[in-house]
Amino acid sequence: MADLTAAELVGSVKTIYTLPSTYDRLSEAINDPGSTMDEIAEVLTNDQSIAMRVLELANSAFYGFPSKIETISHALTLIGAQQVRDLVLGTAVIEMFDGISTQKVSMASFWKHSIACGLTSKIIASLRREPNVERFFVLGLLHDIGRMVMLQKIPQPMTSLMSEAEAEHQLLYVLEKKRFGFTHEDVGAELMLQWKFPPRLAESVRAHHRFSTMVRFPVESATAHIADITTHAMGFGGSGEIFIPPLNGTAWGLIGLDPSALQRMEKELERQLEEVLQIMLPSS
């Protein structure tokens, strides 16, 4: 086990975790400067289940638009094509892991933590007036995806590591590093790079527990770091970590939130979480 690397672990699951063809077609259409909004909408409407979910999200508290959005083209105009693609990606990843159970962490709890972290990242980005806040949603949503891969691919060592974390009062990601030489952050980042995610997101996933001023994308990394800790502290689901991870003061300073904003974020999350869970996680 000691000589396995995060990239090898991800390489061994290459054929299991593949994104749906709709996502590829959507990316292609968006990246092609010659394609029109109607052509992009057509890719989406060809996949009924994805089209329906995009419309449900567009009409939910996630956006809070005042009037009803009836068509995919309307949603694309209001939300933006790239943002819609990010949402499609998020739901596709959840679906990919659907029905696969792990011994120690329930899927429902894992995705609740992930979706809550996505919403928290998005709220933080909105407070900072960052453009394209959906990418922050995807960042939070996928920050622990490497943990899911590890729980499924190396369940035995992970189960014993989780028992050790509990008995020794240790942080799980610290034990992962000690045991494997890499953490779920590395596995998640490698998987995202394999999926051709922008390095901005993948590298921020890699740094969500080890923020430093040296990371390549400080704002994204610090947002994921703070959103993860906040979500843990609000007790929305879990990804196997028993303890609240330590907060990096520099990351907190960089994001520039007032501590009183956390209580308002709790209320905002309460308002959005159940609805978004029902849309993105219909089986729960």
């Binding site: 942080l171 800790i229 609240i244 991870p245 330590p246 907190w252 159940e274």
Partner: protein, 111 residues
């Protein structure tokens, strides 16, 4: 008047504003809430209600002040354990600790 967390709303409380969705009124303002109303509110995912004559800050303070001290001690010990890897004197962690503590107390009180 502010909003009262649903868990703190008692039967017979008078609703201050209409509960509506997409312009359709689901429960009208002024109604005395029954257990069935509260159940429906929960199923709709409503977390808070505006109740006539109630001050949310006072309700919250009273709720925590009236909890069983043994339960409070037990939950506090649990919180300290869960936050053991953090610096509790950091203002953000301090705020998150309070949020976690209150959520756990409400959860345990509900049973």
């Amino acid at each position: 008047m502010g909003l009262i967390p649903l868990d703190h709303v008692k039967e017979g409380s008078l609703l201050e504003t209409d509960i509506s969705e997409n312009g359709q009124i689901l429960i009208k303002a002024g109604i005395a809430l029954t257990e069935r109303h509260l159940r429906l509110c929960r199923s709709w995912g409503i977390a808070e209600l505006a109740i006539q004559g109630l001050d949310p800050d006072k309700i919250e303070n009273d709720f925590f002040a009236n909890l069983d001290p043994a339960l409070v001690t037990e939950v506090q010990e649990h919180c300290v354990e869960v936050f053991r890897h953090t610096e509790l004197n950091h203002p953000a962690i301090g705020a998150l600790y309070q949020i976690y503590l209150k959520r756990k107390l409400r959860e345990r009180h509900r049973g």
